[in-house]
Subunit: 142 residues, 2 copies
């Protein structure tokens, strides 16, 4: 990780680490309502995908697609929601939310729909473990 | 456009065409609350970004970054929101929403926040025209 990179405090509080790609943190959101993985490029000072250098941007997309496909295959999600919003947390971060027909916000967007629901410590670890396993085959993940 | 591609009726109803890249439609959403551009790859039967072939996916990202950067530069947006959701419209489409501190949904997400607000015919044409101008320099746009 670049020495001058620090994870935004809000992301630090809301997530736990699943693993990383060489230039990207892979985080699990603590909201148990939805399987929700966040990728954070570790290049400091980036707010928008279009601010990333061309090659970094393509690698991030490949990581994002790998994560989204692995989540969908593991969980049998109806739809993956992939988004870079960042109105509240300016540090670039890419949401990957596995959506299911009939989940708490279906078919609406999840942001602002419901307050977060805590995992039990066991369920959080189980979720992290199954996702770590599903991502293990992705190039560069560790 | 591939002969077997048809724009989803909901996207057809909610947008007007700004232009296109060789494999991607560039649409303007009719909701006047937010400057809102939607990219739709014209490869039939695709629901998820990760279903796109590797090269197509990279070209779509380059188009998306070009559109987002041009919108932000033209409009002075505080933040670009870029998202592939598709819970209601399964055909893959990528939202690009220019967000401003104090806009109707700020700092929340726009989806489900407010009912759509109609442009006047003149304002819709003006918006389309200024965006077409801003996208004119993007490779492959026409």
């Amino acid at each position: 990780m670049p020495e001058n990179f620090t994870l935004h405090p809000r992301l630090e509080a809301d997530t736990i680490t699943i693993g990383r790609f060489p230039e990207t943190l892979v985080l699990l959101h603590r909201d148990a309502r939805y399987p929700w993985v966040i990728l954070v490029p570790t290049l400091p000072g980036i707010r928008e995908i279009h601010e990333l250098p061309h090659e970094v941007r393509h690698r991030l997309l490949d990581e994002s697609c790998g994560v989204a496909a692995a989540m969908q295959a593991l969980l049998g999600a109806t739809k993956m929601n992939v988004a870079a919003l960042g109105n509240m947390v300016p540090q670039l971060h890419l949401h990957h939310v596995a959506r299911f027909e009939g989940d708490d916000a279906w078919p609406g967007a999840i942001w602002g729909a419901h307050p977060g629901l805590e995992y039990t410590a066991e369920a959080l670890e189980a979720r992290r473990g199954e996702l770590r396993g599903a991502f293990a085959a992705l190039p560069g993940f560790g």
